[in-house]
Amino acid sequence: MTATTQNDAHHADDHHDHGPELTGIKRWLFTTNHKDIGTMYLIFSLVMLFVGGAMALVIRTELGQPGMQFVQPDFYNQMVTMHALIMIFGAVMPAFVGLANWMIPLMVGAPDMALPRMNNWSFWILPVAFSILLATLFVPGGAPAGGWTMYPPLVLQTGDAFPMLIFSVHLMGISSIMGAINIIVTIMNMRAPGMTLLKMPLFVWTWLITAYLLIAVMPVLAGAVTMLLTDQFFGTSFFRAAGGGDPVMFQHIFWFFGHPEVYIMILPAFGIISEIIPTFSRKPLFGYTSMVYATASIAFLSFIVWAHHMFTAGMPLTGQLFFMFTTMLIAVPTGVKVFNWAATMWKGAMTFETPMLFAVAFLFLFTIGGFSGLMLAIVPADFQYHDSYFVVAHFHYVLVPGAIFAIIAGVYYWLPKWTGHMYNETLGKAHFWLTTIFVNLTFFPMHFLGLAGMPRRIPDYSTQFADFNMIATVGAFGFGLSQLLFVWIIVQCARGGKKATAEVWESPVGLEWTVPSPAPHHTFDEPPVVK
């Protein structure tokens, strides 16, 4: 793809480059600029990463040794529940939306998101939602403690936090749906002339498909929690067995949302990796079209695998077989992606700057998470693994060295474009090695713990699990502290450093590299032409 554009460095000082009209707090409260909103999403998700991370460290501190040391069991359960809700809805999803806000208009040659005021709303709903969620820690009965899956009847035992939980989930859902609608209509309506669908960068493609997933499943979660609310306060019995309702029905509805949600958290990661690997391999992405079809296939399959989360809840044999085979089928398009990334690197003139290091680590470590997922897909094996630490190891490998590594890789990759400065490469590499070593130290022993029979969501355990738990706890603190280095690198880069060129890297492909670094406040008022 080649592009001609008016927004090169020559024109950076003309009327396109004027800064924000408002200043101070008003700039951030009322901004409709996709770059400002992207920055706010990213800062918000970083804050939530540390809040959720602190809760993870409470969990790991308690689990450092067998016996009850530091917290009460109910508070431990609150930490487990809040950690998951905050990391999923507050850290990972907003980080991807932040990257989408910053990069999609730049990648498709649009001047902004299609609906900028709705974009502002999508963001500002989030701090409200999470303030409500975090406030539950201080109400009678404490925060929700029944797990992020909110299964009835357990969740109905939540104290005063219950309606706050439901309201905050509703707000998160509204924010996500509005953000998803904005992304779809931006991509479909605002692309530069000549940018056909199959010329779009992979990050744009993966986000387009993710946005459709969000619109399809977030209302399902909203419906499920609304029914919980009416069961609790308005006398309905959707999920109350005593009133003729069916608690297992909630699990089906929840996971009909929950499994596509897993892909909502990984498809944009695939997009980021598909941008980074070609740049640092100095080769075009191998199998672009197959990557698009693989993404669409994964999205389709995500709707017909949900019951693999609940094999042990009871279902007919044909149901078990159906969900086992459809789940295994996901390995096919995922394998296409992994092999395409490997083929892109094959015989490439590779260099290993920090974004590439994180991308390569993603490839290896996400694949470990994928393989343990395949093990869990096998029904008879799942009966052994279910609710064990093996499951905890599996989904953390998918989400931490999977989704979060991709987010970190994307931040390093695009940071010079955002700030106009190069980050400190030596510190970036140090951050990579510390993070990668500690993430494995934290989560790999959990495979062994699970296979040895340690159940998940417990504050105490048998002494036979002590050694691996101690290793995981040391790893978790190392991982958490390493992220302070990440914050320092970002702050340092935002404040100054070596000036970044428009291209930043050696001949990267895409419209975002045709605008100066830092990207002017307004870009592509005059559309580029994509040839």
């Binding site: 209509v185 931006t186 479909m188 309506n189 399902v220 609304t226 019995s237 029905m249 592509f524």
Partner: protein, 45 residues
Amino acid sequence: MSTDVRDTTTQRRAARRSAAILGVVAVAVFVAFIAATVLRSGAGV
């Protein structure tokens, strides 16, 4: 569409129309799942 002057008014009008349709779809999914649960359980309300 001209390649040197972007007709953002037309683009944004089309975007608003698409957004409205997607919003209706989202609300329909929300209602459909509650309705389906009522029908399935028979004791929902």
